[in-house]
Structures are given as structure tokens and as C-alpha cells.
Amino acid sequence: MYGGGYIFDKLQDNQVNDDPEKLLLFEERIARGEKIEPRDWMPFDYRRQLIRLIEQHAHSEIIGALPEGTWITRAPGFKRKLALIAKVQDEIGHGQLLYSAAETLGKSRENMINDLLNGKSKYSNVFNYPAETWADVTVIGFLIDAGAIINQITNSKGSYAPYCRALERICYEESFHLKQGHEGLVFLATGTFVQREMLQDALNRWWEPIMHFFGPPDKASVHSEKLMKWKVKMASNDDMRQEFLNTYVPKIWELGLTLPDPKLKKNTETNKWEYTEPNWETFWQVINGNGPCNKERLKVRMWAEEHGRWVRDALKTNQLTQSVPLA
């Protein structure tokens, strides 16, 4: 899935002494639409922000598999169970691809996982909410994956080659996630009264996290100009949110379902969607560890590392020397 609402570091203009000549060549290369490869010279801040971005994205894939993973044993019917297993496996695979892409920038996978477990690295906020019913799983599979696809297609046009290559593979698999999510959601929406109620309840609960998904409104983020120029950030949060609303709100409404925002509508003059700003205070609260599931997610992840350790140790050979992936 998933990488909405990235949190970038403050850009630190004065602390870095990037060679101005090399910086110029670098920026010209990006302006020409060329990609940057791991061994190329790059500005200090470019490397730092990319590690942060790709690492958050990788964590989001891994943690994102947890709320859905809990439903594998309870998925209604064999086909849905198989599809959910396949999807969750894909998400873990996405995490692996992204960790490797981040590793090309010089941070080891172990350090990234340490930072995740220590709460230093973030992941997409939506995964700090519980999947209470099967309807939640269909809402996640349809709408959260939809958001992720918008985000990932946008990012795949960025400047850092290993990240783009990983995203290309990922986007291919996401199309299956979206379709199976949509099918599950339509099944409930066109089902019995109780099924529709269950789905409506899930939509009501997930709407705010979904509105948070692409991150705070543009007017609140002041650091994106250089990141846009370097093609690290490829579209503004608000633009991606608009694209999401424009494509997916009609697909909810056509099923006679509602979204819990009376102001939500498309302004036919501006062609923009109007909505009530979600509570951004809640967003920051959850990012900083106080969401309903933050602790559970990290502890389950910790459990997995602890319980996998003896297997990893058993397989360890004597002559391992660290190397960085090439491409």
C-alpha cells in the first residue's frame, strides 16, 4: 500500500556544504528529467529526505499488513481468504522492495527497523486504527489502497531511480488490491440491510483517517519547494487529496452510501471538491503515538522480530560482510 502523509525533516539550508558546482549539475540533470542512481553525487539533504521518505513508505507497507492480517483467519469464504493472504503477502513484499531502495542510500535495514520499533520513524497514520469488522477490510482494500495508488503513481515519477523502479513493481500489484477491495465493498453494498449497515458504519469510522491520509493541507507545510524541485515530492498533499475525492467519492455515492461530511461536494465552477477539514490535532496526536493501535502495532512487530531471531541466527553463516544493494 501505502504512503500518504509523509513527514519530512526541516530542510537545513546552512548546515550543509554541498559543492555548488556539483549541486548545479545535479539540479540540471533532474530538470532534464534524468534519474539519479545510488552512486551519483547527491546533496546531503536529498539523501536525508529520501531515506526518510522511502523508509516511512516501507514501514507503512509492513505495519499496514497488520490490521488486514488479523482478518485472514476470519475472512468470509475461501476465495476471500486466499485473496486476502495474497494481498497481505504483496504488502510485505512491497516493504522489502522499499527497504532495499532506502538501503541504496546508505541506511541498513536493521537500523530502519530499530528506528521503527523505537518510535523514531513514522509510518502512515491510517494503520493506527483498528479494523473492527469485515466491512473495514473492504474499506481499507478499496479506499486506502486507492489513496496509496494515487500516492505511489505520483511518486514513481520522481527523480530517485531505485525508488521509481520499486514503485513500478508495486503499482502493478496494487491494481489487484484495488479490485479485490472494490469487489468486497460492492458485495456488502448490494447485500442485505445488515451488510449495508455494517459497511456504512465502517465508512463513517474510516472517513477521517482517509482525509488525513495525504497529510496536512498545503498551507501548513512550508518546506516543500526544494523537495518539489528535486522531484522528491511530486505533488502537493491537497492536489492528491483532490484527485482521490474526484475519483472515489462518486464510486461510494453511486452505491447509495454516504460519507460523514455534510459539506462534501464538488464545486462545479472551480471543479474542486469542498470538504470540512478533518481534525488535524487528532492527526498529530496519532502520529505521535497516541492513536488507538500505535502500541499494539509496534509490539506485534517487536514480537515478530524476537520470535524470528533464532531462525535468522540458525541460518547465519560465518562470512557475512555488509554490502549495499546496487540498483
Binding site: 541498513s108 502500541k295 499494539e296 547465519k316
Partner: protein, 127 residues
């Protein structure tokens, strides 16, 4: 802590100790993966996996890169065993595509104009 997932409630979830939880190389080293789509095709680099040795690298490569789409085989090799030119030196390959080396290329040899001219000049004589 009570989870919505009954299996999680049955676990004894650990406290997170903080500091360095995983040591470097606890996730082993990286292998580059090459994918062969069908018999007769070149292996194409598709990414990498973490593994302790080549056998397991192949297993992980199959999970990661052979899960979808056609595949008849995969290759793996240690990332550190790959030797490459620096992309900064890309200009040294320029001559291969420059016009100066047209004599290496089929398009550097033109005969049709001459043949046509020859035919035209001789058409009377040939009758």
C-alpha cells in the same frame, strides 16, 4: 492491552527495550536478483533480496520476484560480487552512438542512390 484480534490477545507481547534491537547484518546480506521471463530470454535485473546464502536467496527471490508474471528461472548473486562502471563516467560510452562511428553501423553504408543512378545512366545502353 486488549486487541480486536484474538490471536494477539493470546500472545505475550514484549516490551520494546529501546536502543539497538537488531544488530547490523542480523538480516544478512543482499543478493541481486535476475529474472528470466521465458526460454531464450536474457536474465534481467529486477532487484535484490536479503539472505544468508545463495540457496535461501533463491527461495526469497522466488517469493519476491516470481510471484506474478511469467518466469522460467531466476539468478542470484551477491551484491558485492557485481562490478560496475560508475555512472559518472557515462560519457566514455558516447562514441558508440556518435555519428563519428557510423562506419560501425549498417546505416553508415548507402548503396541505393548509386544503384539507381547507375541504372538510369545505363538504361539506354542496356536496351
Amino acid at each position: 492491552m486488549s486487541s480486536l484480534d484474538p490471536r494477539i490477545n493470546r500472545l505475550e507481547l514484549p516490551q520494546i527495550p529501546g536502543g539497538e534491537i537488531l544488530k547490523n547484518q542480523e538480516h544478512w546480506i543482499t543478493y541481486e536478483v535476475f529474472h528470466i521471463k521465458k526460454r531464450g530470454d536474457h536474465p534481467v535485473h529486477v532487484g535484490c533480496v536479503h539472505a544468508p546464502h545463495p540457496d535461501l536467496a533463491l527461495v526469497f527471490a522466488k517469493e519476491q520476484y516470481g510471484r506474478r508474471l511469467a518466469c522460467v528461472s531466476l539468478w542470484v548473486c551477491k551484491s558485492s560480487d557485481i562490478h560496475a562502471f560508475s555512472m559518472e563516467d557515462e560519457d566514455m560510452f558516447y562514441s558508440a552512438v556518435s555519428d563519428e562511428k557510423k562506419y560501425r553501423d549498417a546505416s553508415g553504408f548507402k548503396v541505393r542512390d548509386k544503384i539507381n543512378k547507375f541504372k538510369k545512366g545505363n538504361s539506354d545502353a542496356l536496351v
